[in-house]
């Protein structure tokens, strides 16, 4: 069952110093300006917009990597702002998984170890983690590549490892930040097929930031962003 996500008048501004007040806000950059949004469990939402429109900022807030300067984000009714550091770490481990444009695999670990990492971080026994990682890799079509290091894989293969890693701890929310941005269109399509197939099977809520209309077409819902605001 996927997560229900509610963003309520969420804003985020950068810079402007720590003084607070209207002046400082005016001096800073508003990356998000009062966004309200509800994502139903199991939905696949595309955030569409050009570079700098606030897509990644929103994903960072949803992933509890950053804190909003205004408004609140509820995930399954829990306000992310109320979470302590440990709870945020746990939230990222169990609830919200992320895949990136540049894959962000650990170059010092092989494919299996990359996928097993979140499991181990969550306290799984090593043997159990390895077994689950191997089966996930097989699921994303990388059977036989378990020992391969990232530099030995193609872009598409790396993104598959990243997908497997994202699914390792059975998250209810998947945040995808331009997942096809660094892939050719054919590979990009394959990865998107994989992602939509897997998440539909599992009923995971997906938020994908993209500037590609083509990619956004795969989503059940497209939300347009421009200059930190939702377009109607």
């Amino acid at each position: 069952m996927g997560a229900r996500v509610t963003a309520d008048s969420v804003s985020k501004s950068y810079g402007g110093g720590g003084g607070g007040g209207d002046e400082s806000r005016a001096a800073g950059v508003d990356a998000l300006a009062g966004i309200s949004l509800t994502l139903e469990p199991g939905s696949f939402t595309a955030l569409l917009g050009p570079s700098g429109c606030g897509k990644s900022t929103l994903l960072n807030l949803l992933g509890a990597l950053d804190r909003p300067t205004g408004g609140r984000i509820l995930v399954d009714g829990r306000d992310l702002a109320t979470l302590g550091e440990d709870e945020r770490d746990a939230y990222r481990r169990k609830t919200a998984a992320t895949i990136f444009q540049f894959f962000n695999l650990l170059p010092t670990m092989n494919a299996l170890e990359n996928v097993a990492l979140p499991l181990l971080l969550d306290g799984a026994a090593p043997a159990e983690a390895d077994a689950r990682a191997a089966s996930l890799l097989a699921e994303v079509g990388l059977h036989g590549k378990e020992r391969a290091y990232p530099y030995e894989l193609s872009g598409g293969q790396m993104q598959r490892v990243a997908v497997a890693r994202a699914l390792a701890n059975r998250p209810t929310l998947l945040l995808a930040d331009e997942p096809t941005g660094n892939l050719d269109s054919k590979t990009g399509t394959q990865v998107l097929d994989l992602v939509s197939g897997l998440v539909q099977e599992r009923g995971i809520t997906v938020v994908m930031a993209t500037h590609s209309v083509e990619a956004s077409a795969r989503a059940s819902r497209v939300v347009r962003l421009l200059d930190g605001q939702l377009l109607p």
């Binding site: 990644s56 960072n60 992933g63 990597l65 950053d66 550091e85 440990d86 770490d89 746990a90 939230y91 990222r92 481990r93 169990k94 992320t98 990136f100 540049f102 962000n104 650990l106 170059p107 010092t108 670990m109 170890e113 990492l117 979140p118 181990l120 971080l121 969550d122 026994a125 090593p126 290091y149 990232p150 530099y151 890693r165 701890n169």
Partner: protein, 879 residues
């Protein structure tokens, strides 16, 4: 070159200067690494040069205008030699005979001073004197004015009476003396009072021994110091205008008229003798400095190689913009050069400061062995400083070569990913390890040959190869150890262990260099600690075996630790008659040379040793039996350093210089002796006195009767000597303590050097870890995204540090153990001729290694904290 310059200049900013400015701490650490090595080498060389220059100054000032100096190989030149040389006066040369003696001024523990007994009539031809009278200054000898010179000489001699001395103005000031003041001098255990007849300006001979020199009449000196009928030196002033050939011929003719046991040569040769004495010491310390410099080299390599890796994209970009390979190479080489220049400059400054400590060490050794009155002051020889500086710069440029070449090889598209760069390096692990094994085998082979011209060159090469071989094994060791962090460790320490492992092998080129640098510093510490510890234990055991007597007497010898002068026979007789004294064993010795190399000829009562058996023999034979036989056959016993230095075995014959020509004596056995490295030939006292007309003793060992405590014995002996002889009386326990105290003082600087090198190596771990954390910011950010807490990220860095530290300790102990074997059995033995039994100071080692491990972990806390505080969102944005 012209095409390269603008490119070079435009690359310097983006590729070197700006990144360096951003990363100041790491660059400071690197510079300090080089500085330590350079400082060590500069300090040792400076100290050595200062000692030698102070000594050669003294030699020059005393020799004055002499072109040839006649010295005795043995205990003195017979006075008749002057008659044999009378002919030289007829060809216009002048003979200036002299007595040299060392005394304590004021009291038995006063300032140590050289005494020169001179013939006032002849001496002005050789040495210059200038009086500092209250009102008028009178120059006694004026060059080229023979008549006036003689007239003034008469003046000089009129000052000389039996109890008169001339003092230098420096000495007079220090001891508040004026013309007419009484001056007490203690020499050969007897205190005498002299009268200051005049004060000399610090000109000519008065500058010798930094002004700690007195002049008195030759005959008075002979009488006062028990040298009637003998001279210590004759300086020959050659007639002016001699060609080099004439001079050589003249020298040859002088040599032909000398009695046996006497040599003639240029005055400088004595400086060479001292140089030879301190050479082994200097070379050993310099080797230590070289190892420190090697650690610095690793620093430069590591810093630059990290720089190249981090700036791969930038390098690719500038290459794509048209920068040539050559200019990229030059830029990184220039970075190495700059690091070398800054590090070496800091090192030279630090070296000057350290040199003061080293001077005490080297200077102490030289003065104790040779010139107790010398006060070597630090002489900042620019050549020495330049040498150390150049060495530092050269080594950093050398270590910059490999990273600079790698930078030049970055292709313009910069298509190679970080991981694949490391993968290429990982593939080198096996060939590197194989080369390391080959080097270690070579190191073993090189430990076997003997010394080269008295220096353990192959031994040093062997140590160098151990260090290099082990360094090349570092990548393999890191890979091996990292693999252990998975599996059982993974269950025990959690996923952080796997992260640490991944980082260790993922950045193998950096982590293994950090391990190698730590290993090297630790190996140096362990080997020196084991060597010094073994040496100390061996000496302590030897001292407890040989110091079998209850009391030890030596002539009072002023402030200096070294003893000089002789105890007169009468004083020995007094001691023998003290109630409670059972036996006395007088040890009498003098310095001699064999082929220009100094050694000691000594004598003791063989019957005493035969009775007490207190001198262990190298071959383990029964001391009592060997000494009894040697006594019956008039044979000699030699010390181990003598046997090593001159390659003499039991059954060989040694030639000893006497007035009647060389005496051939058979060697009955070799005894262990750690008291000096000059080497000693020891004869029975009666045999000795038949060969040389010497009396008294340098030291006297006293056995007390049963029931008399050493303290009580010492009190009685001192009481009996009171007022008649100024002797130093030490009990067995005091002397043992003194021996070990001198020992510890000698090695104190060694420990200081080690501590510094070690601190630098730990800083090296900090340096590497900080660099790795900065480089892995994105990966760390990612870990946080995956839900790793800041604490876990921190722990992973700490595990990594622990692995680097632990590996460094294990490899350091192993290679340090191997190096200590070479130090003890090869280098020490070939340098000094001592056999040392291995005794590892386990307690010290455990404490030091534990401390290093802790320090490494402490050093890791900063990079670990840095990792924990990484701004996740910002780190992920970087690409």
């Amino acid at each position: 070159m012209t095409g390269l310059r603008p490119g070079f200049r435009s690359l310097l900013g983006p590729l070197v200067l700006r990144p360096a400015a951003k990363d100041r701490l790491r660059f400071l650490l690197t510079i300090s690494g080089i500085a330590v090595g350079v400082a060590t080498i500069a300090a040792i060389r400076l100290a050595n040069a200062s000692v030698l220059s102070s000594f050669s100054d003294t030699v020059d000032f005393v020799a004055g205008k002499a072109g040839v100096t006649i010295l005795a190989d043995g205990p003195g030149i017979p006075e008749e030699t002057l008659q044999r040389l009378a002919w030289v006066r007829r060809v216009g040369a002048t003979l200036a005979p002299a007595i040299t003696e060392t005394a304590a001024a004021g009291a038995a523990d006063g300032e140590v001073v050289e005494v020169l007994g001179i013939d006032p009539l002849a001496d002005t031809a050789a040495r210059e004197y200038s009086f500092a009278e209250e009102k008028k200054e009178e120059k006694i000898f004026l060059e080229g004015e023979e008549g006036e010179g003689h007239a003034r000489a008469a003046n000089l001699s009129s000052i000389f009476e039996r109890d008169s001395v001339l003092v230098t103005s420096v000495f007079a000031k220090r001891n508040s003396l004026r013309p007419g003041s009484p001056l007490h001098l203690v020499a050969n255990g007897i205190e005498r009072t002299f009268r200051v007849a005049g004060v000399l300006h610090p000109v000519g001979a008065a500058r010798a021994a930094s002004g700690s020199i007195l002049f008195m009449d030759l005959a008075a000196a002979q009488e006062a110091f028990g040298k009637v009928g003998r001279l210590d030196r004759i300086d020959v002033v050659l007639p002016p205008g001699l060609s080099e050939d004439d001079r050589a011929r003249f020298e040859e003719e002088i040599r032909a008229s000398l009695p046996p046991g006497t040599t003639a040569g240029r005055p400088e040769r004595r400086t060479e003798t001292v140089d030879r004495l301190v050479r082994a010491f200097r070379v050993n310390l310099s080797a230590l400095g070289l190892i420190a410099l090697l650690v610095g080299m690793y620093f430069v390599y590591n810093t630059l190689s990290i720089s190249v890796l981090r700036r791969r994209t930038d390098i690719g970009t500038v290459r794509a913009l048209g920068a040539s390979k050559r200019s990229v190479f030059t830029v990184f080489l220039a970075e190495g050069l700059a690091l070398g220049v800054f590090g070496s400059a800091a090192g030279v400054g630090l070296g000057v400061a350290l040199a003061k400590g080293a001077l005490l060490l080297v200077g102490g050794t030289a003065t104790e062995l040779y010139i107790p009155s010398a006060h070597p002051s630090l002489h900042l020889d620019p050549l020495v400083l330049l040498f150390a500086f150049a060495l530092g710069v050269a080594t950093s440029v050398l270590s910059a070569l490999a990273p600079a070449l790698e930078a030049a090889r970055v292709d313009p598209a910069a298509t190679m990913r970080h991981g694949s760069v490391e993968a290429v390096r990982r593939r080198r692990t096996r060939p590197l390890a194989l080369t390391g094994v080959v080097l270690l085998a070579l190191a073993f082979a090189l430990a076997l040959p003997g010394p080269v011209r008295g220096l353990p060159l192959f031994g040093f090469l062997s140590v160098f190869l151990i260090v290099s071989g082990v360094s090349l094994l570092a990548p393999a060791a890191v890979t091996f150890a990292a693999a252990r962090l998975d599996g059982p460790a993974l269950r025990l320490f959690g996923v952080e262990a796997r992260l640490a492992r991944a980082n260790l092998t993922g950045s193998l080129s950096r982590t293994s260099v950090a391990v190698a640098a730590l290993t090297m510093a630790l190996a140096m510490m362990v080997s020196v600690a084991v060597m010094v510890g073994s040496f100390r234990t061996t000496v302590a055991i030897w001292v407890s075996q040989t110091l079998a007597s209850d009391l030890f007497l030596s002539a009072a010898s002023g402030k200096s630790g070294a003893s000089f002068g002789r105890i007169p026979d009468e004083a020995i007789a007094v001691v023998r008659d003290v109630d409670g004294v059972d036996e006395v064993d007088p040890f009498l010795a003098f310095g001699a040379t064999r082929d220009g190399v100094p050694f000691t000829i000594g004598s003791g009562l063989f019957a005493f040793i035969a009775k007490h058996g207190n001198l262990p023999l190298v071959d383990g034979r029964d001391t009592r039996k060997v000494f009894t036989e040697a006594l019956g056959k008039d044979e000699a016993m030699i010390s181990e350093p003598y046997a090593e230095k001159f390659r003499v075995k039991t059954g060989d014959f040694v030639e000893l210089p006497t007035d009647k020509g060389p005496a051939r004596v058979r060697v009955a056995g070799i005894y262990t002796d750690y008291s000096n490295d000059r080497g000693t030939v020891t004869l029975d006292r009666a045999h000795f006195q038949r060969l040389w007309p010497l009396t008294g003793a340098v030291t006297v060992a006293v056995k007390l009767k049963d029931g008399v405590s050493p303290e009580e014995g010492a009190r009685r002996v001192s009481a009996a000597l009171q007022g008649r002889y100024a002797l130093r009386v030490r009990t067995n326990a005091t002397l043992r303590r003194l021996v070990l105290r001198i020992f510890d003082r000698t090695f104190a600087v060694t420990y200081a050097l080690e501590a510094v090198a070690l601190a630098v190596a730990v800083l090296g771990v900090l340096n590497t870890l900080t660099a790795l954390v900065l480089e892995r910011r994105r990966e760390i950010g990612l870990l946080r995204v995956l839900g790793a807490s800041a604490a876990r990220v921190k722990r992973a860095v700490q595990y990594e540090a622990a692995a680097i530290g632990g590996l460094g300790v294990v490899m350091g102990v192993l290679s340090g153990g191997a190096m200590s074997l070479v130090l003890v059995h090869v280098i020490n033995r070939q340098s000094f001729g001592w056999t040392i039994a291995m005794h590892a100071p386990w307690g010290f080692l455990a404490a030091a290694l534990g401390l290093v491990l802790l320090a490494t972990l402490a050093a890791a806390s900063r990079p670990a904290g840095l990792a924990a505080s990484t701004d996740v969102a910002a780190a992920l944005k970087e690409e």
